[in-house]
């Protein structure tokens, strides 16, 4: 497994653990009320699990398994940028909303997430191609 995938997947696992912890607290609080403030965890729960876990896992696996150029996976710099942006984005948008931060914090988070998508696509786009074997068959 290449290094960027290891980082994406480990970060995805951390977000799974945190997202389920927030979800568990929300659900417990729904059944046996602990404190009304618990509901503030909902935006972080949603962002951590939808983007931090599911989307990030898809990025890590895609970078690992998409077709390569001989042995290379293309320019790795936009992939590291996507890693940094998606994680900043999840924390700004998710924790920002949970901690009632000003709207621009959540906006900045969403901007980071959109940037992560763009940066990731720069690497992935040319890799969405037939495998070498299939390509020679098509010729």
């Amino acid at each position: 497994m290449p290094k960027p995938s290891i980082w994406f997947l480990r970060s995805a696992l951390i977000h799974l653990a945190l997202g389920f912890t927030f979800g568990g607290l929300l659900l417990w609080n729904k059944g046996i009320p602990i404190h009304p403030l618990m509901w503030r965890l909902l935006p972080a729960h949603m962002e951590f699990l939808l983007v931090g876990w599911t989307v990030q896992l898809a990025l890590g696996v895609a970078y690992w398994i998409l077709p390569r150029f001989y042995t290379q996976r293309g320019d790795v710099r936009p992939v590291w940028l996507a890693f940094a942006l998606i994680n900043c984005g999840v924390w700004l948008a998710g924790m920002g909303a949970t901690l009632a931060a000003p709207g621009w914090v959540i906006l900045a988070g969403r901007l980071c997430e959109a940037g992560a998508a763009g940066a990731f696509a720069v690497n992935a786009w040319p890799r969405v191609k037939p495998m070498a074997q299939e390509a020679s068959h098509l010729r």
Partner: protein
């Protein structure tokens, strides 16, 4: 495909169908004047989809495809993967019943069952992260 992966993936497929049927019921409620308990199925619908289908499918495929844990136990500890399967599905099934029933039945038992559901799903996530973490590495 190992037995545990087949179990996770087939269970995920059942939840996929169940989730979309729950979504159908929620959408049909105002049109067919269905009872109010059906509206309480909204979070159930969403979590059947994201926990029962998406997350469970990921767990099953990760068990199969991630780099080997060791020569003796290539897929990590099978007993732990069984425990994860039971905790996740036990927890989710409890939620499916307790969350809507709570809205029409004031018996505190349903609240406690919801809290138990939260605990089981949280334990499943922690056990999965612990089991798969050492497998997220270079070959």
């Amino acid at each position: 495909m190992p037995f545990l992966t087949r179990l996770f993936v087939k269970t995920a497929l059942v939840y996929f169908i169940a989730a979309l049927l729950a979504g159908l019921l929620v959408a049909a409620r105002p049109v067919l004047a269905l009872p109010s308990i059906v509206a309480a199925l909204t979070p159930v619908y969403f979590h059947l989809l994201m926990v029962g289908w998406v997350t469970q499918l990921i767990l099953g495929v990760a068990h199969w495809m991630f780099p080997k844990f060791s020569r003796e136990e290539p897929r990590g500890h099978d007993w732990l993967t069984w425990t994860i399967f039971i905790l996740l599905n036990g927890g989710l099934l409890l939620r499916v019943f307790a969350e809507p029933i709570r809205t029409v039945n004031t018996d505190p038992l349903w609240g406690w069952l919801l809290a138990l559901s939260a605990l089981l799903q949280w334990l499943a996530a922690m056990a999965f992260v612990a089991n798969v973490w050492p497998r997220v590495r270079g070959h």
